[in-house]
């Protein structure tokens, strides 16, 4: 066990994969000499060489398209997109190619590409360094979408992603890259996909969150405890595949649900969770499902603190949901 920040845990996972598997490669903008703009790949090129930790030309479709070719050849590329906001030039490669290769070839050409990218607001990044567009990708069959919220999961889920047989979009909550520190197992630590984590147990309301919203949800739950409301906080971790069982089991217990994400509300990932509860847990629900989300606006700069859900907004929703009948 070592105490690490989330971004250090990402770095350790990449280091572990590069050390133990000669097929693993890293490619992206500024990932080599510079060690990544967030330092996630710090020191890796020096240790593993510029052939395996590759500074690419500035083209996201080039990065992901090249990663596809590497994967078809049998390598295990880990592509970095510098910010999720910059992924759209590669959207065609991800949605039309990465997600469909196995299917369209009848399994002859699996396409195991891992795409890591920092996502989300809270760093004063404005319109184009703050987005949470996970729903676009979760909507696409054939992609796994993973979001860690703490250092141990960041390492364990990333190592699972690198050794998985399917393509994975790995979203890193950059806002908490350094603000969260935690114990991280050494070596080849893996956390399985499709398993949500119960971060705090509670009997009154289920709060579902992921990524950088986790600390906010926990803070809200702690605050409500003194008011006599016991919130259960579930970290989804894996958006695709979703741990449907854990979601339903918690709501069957509490009868109330609050869904939190920083992405816009309309057609956001929370809409899918709400639909799931309507379809499969309606008779357990004692109150309407509530969502605490970003607004249906582009992501703002000066007013990002207004846009982003925080503990206060979450607590308000949980309190309202707990009292509704």
């Amino acid at each position: 066990m070592t105490d690490l920040t989330l971004v250090q845990a990402v770095n350790r996972a990449l280091h572990e994969a590069l050390s133990t598997d000669p097929d693993v490669l890293i490619l992206g903008e500024d990932v080599g000499v510079n060690g990544g703009v967030f330092r996630a790949t710090e020191g890796l090129q020096k240790e593993f060489g510029s052939e395996r930790v590759i500074d690419t030309p500035l083209s996201e479709t080039g990065i992901v398209g090249a990663a596809v070719g590497m994967a078809l050849y049998g390598l295990k590329p880990v592509a970095e997109i510098q910010f999720l906001d910059f992924i759209y030039p590669a959207f065609d490669q991800i949605v039309s190619e990465v997600a469909k290769f196995r299917y369209r070839s009848g399994g002859q050409y699996p396409c195991h590409v891992v795409i890591r990218t920092p996502y989300g607001g809270g760093i004063k990044g404005g319109l184009y360094h703050s987005q949470s567009s996970e729903a676009y990708f979760a909507h696409t069959a054939g992609l796994k979408v993973i979001v860690p919220s703490n250092p141990a999961d960041a390492k364990g889920l990333l190592l699972t992603a690198i050794h998985d047989e399917d393509p994975v979009l790995f979203l890193e909550p950059k806002r908490i890259y350094r603000s969260v520190t935690g114990e991280v197992p050494d070596g080849d630590h893996r956390v399985p996909f499709g398993q949500a984590a119960t971060v705090r147990e509670g009997s009154d309301v289920s709060v579902f969150a992921y990524g950088a919203m986790l600390p906010q949800a926990v803070q809200a739950a702690e605050a409500l405890s003194s008011e006599g409301v016991q919130a259960e906080v579930i970290d989804l971790r894996s958006l695709v595949p979703l741990d449907e069982k854990a979601v339903l089991a918690s709501v069957e217990k509490t009868g109330r649900a609050v869904i939190v994400h920083e992405a816009p509300r309309f057609c956001g990932y929370g809409a899918e969770l709400a639909a799931l509860l309507a379809e499969k847990a309606l008779y357990s629900l004692k109150a309407p499902v509530a969502r605490v989300t970003g607004f249906d606006t582009p992501f703002p700069y000066a007013l990002e603190h207004v846009y982003l859900p925080n503990a206060e907004r979450i607590a308000h929703a949980v309190r309202t949901t707990a009292r509704a009948s």
Binding site: L25, E51, R52, T56, P57, S59, T61, G62, V64, G65, A66, A67, V68, G69, M70, A71, L72, Y73, G74, L75, P77, P89, D92, Q93, S96, E97, K100, F101, R102, Y103, R104, S105, G106, G107, Q108, Y109, P110, A141, G142, K144, D164, E165, D166, P192, F193, G194, Q195, V240, P241, L242, D243, E244, K245, L276
Partner: protein, 349 residues
């Protein structure tokens, strides 16, 4: 003399010159011709079946056969092919069974891709022929990534990216050419310029006179080749592949051809092709040009010619009869291959 004006009917080769250019030309050119005839018969029959409603779609390669066949003859087994829309013949020359390709065209239960793609989008792992999408240009960066692997693992193989003239306007063409140049990768970019992207002529894709000139902007050589000349396609591909194998980095070949059919079974060229296009195309029809050369040099007799045609028709007919009798894919196959089959823990839906 512009391509449209030239009166290129016979291939300009005599036996002594061919002996120098291509020592095994008698066997290989005849072999190539056999495949070109098969391709032509396949296009005729499948377009007919499409009109009868027996296959859903068809994208012919009529007029472009020399490109697939000439490049295929120049390839080594360890090379990789990322196809564009009209390289199916290359898949067959590489050893993929005609019956399996026909299963794909009929999208039946025996199709290795379970009928998931439109016809003329085959996959052939057995031929290192990568699955294609209908999206334009995305295969270009992928071929480059695969070439990165070849270089990393010090293989002497080459990765080939095929694409049309329209694709030279697409993002991935630029990104792929650029990456290949920067990393000096073993890629052969093969632009099959049939002068039309559905209805839009090549002059509307680019202001450059030859698309091959674009390679210069990425720091490597590009050459235009008469893509209706099987000998020229073979020799230019063989030479480029040799240089690439020797570690000299990527090259681009622009094969100039005439699209002699509609873009696909869903297209009507009378809306946009005027004048003497087809007449000009027929002047350089690659199939009779090879036939004329082989006849003139005594390799092909009228009897052999007739037999090749009859053999191709029999092969295609037998494959059609066989594939058409196979039922549609099992509905359960809709849900396989979305993800790897291994148990991966709980999953929704």
């Amino acid at each position: 003399m512009s391509v449209g004006e030239r009166s290129l009917r016979a291939l300009p080769y005599e036996a002594p010159r061919l002996d120098r250019l291509w020592p095994s030309w008698r066997e290989q050119l005849l072999e190539g011709y056999r495949w070109m005839v098969l391709g032509r018969v396949l296009d005729e029959r499948m377009l007919g079946l499409q009109r009868q409603g027996r296959v859903g779609f068809y994208g012919p390669a009529t007029g472009q056969e020399a490109v697939s066949v000439g490049v295929a003859l120049a390839l080594a087994a360890e090379d990789w092919v990322f196809p564009g829309l009209r390289e199916q013949l290359l898949l067959l020359v590489r050893g993929h069974p005609l019956t399996t390709y026909m299963d794909h065209l009929f999208a039946n239960d025996r199709d290795p891709a379970r009928g998931r793609q439109m016809p003329c989008h085959p996959t052939g792992r057995d031929a290192r022929y990568v699955s294609m999408s209908s999206v334009i240009g995305t295969q270009v960066t992928q071929a480059v990534g695969l070439a990165y692997g070849l270089k990393l693992r010090k293989e002497r193989a080459v990765s080939l990216a095929f694409f049309g003239d329209g694709a030279t306007s697409a993002n991935d063409f630029h990104a792929g050419m650029n990456f290949a140049g920067v990393f000096s990768l073993p890629v052969l970019f093969c632009c099959t310029n049939n002068q039309w992207a559905i209805s839009v002529p090549v002059e509307r894709q680019s202001r450059v006179e030859e698309l091959a000139h674009k390679a210069g902007a990425y720091g490597f050589a590009g050459h235009r080749v008469d893509g209706t000349d099987l000998v020229a396609v073979f020799t230019s591909a063989r030479e480029a592949l040799g240089r690439i194998r020797d570690g000299h980095g990527p090259e681009m070949l622009e094969f100039l051809v005439y699209r002699m059919t509609p873009h696909s079974s869903s297209d009507d060229p009378s809306r946009y092709q005027q004048g003497d296009w087809m007449a000009r195309a027929r002047e350089v029809d690659p199939v009779p040009r090879v036939s004329e050369l082989l006849s003139r040099t005594g390799v092909l007799t009228p009897e052999l010619e007739a037999r090749l045609r009859a053999d191709a028709e029999a092969l295609v007919k037998a494959a059609i009869v066989e594939a058409e009798a196979v039922p549609a894919p099992d509905p359960a196959s809709l849900f396989t291959d979305v993800f790897a089959p291994a148990p991966l823990g709980p999953r929704s839906g």
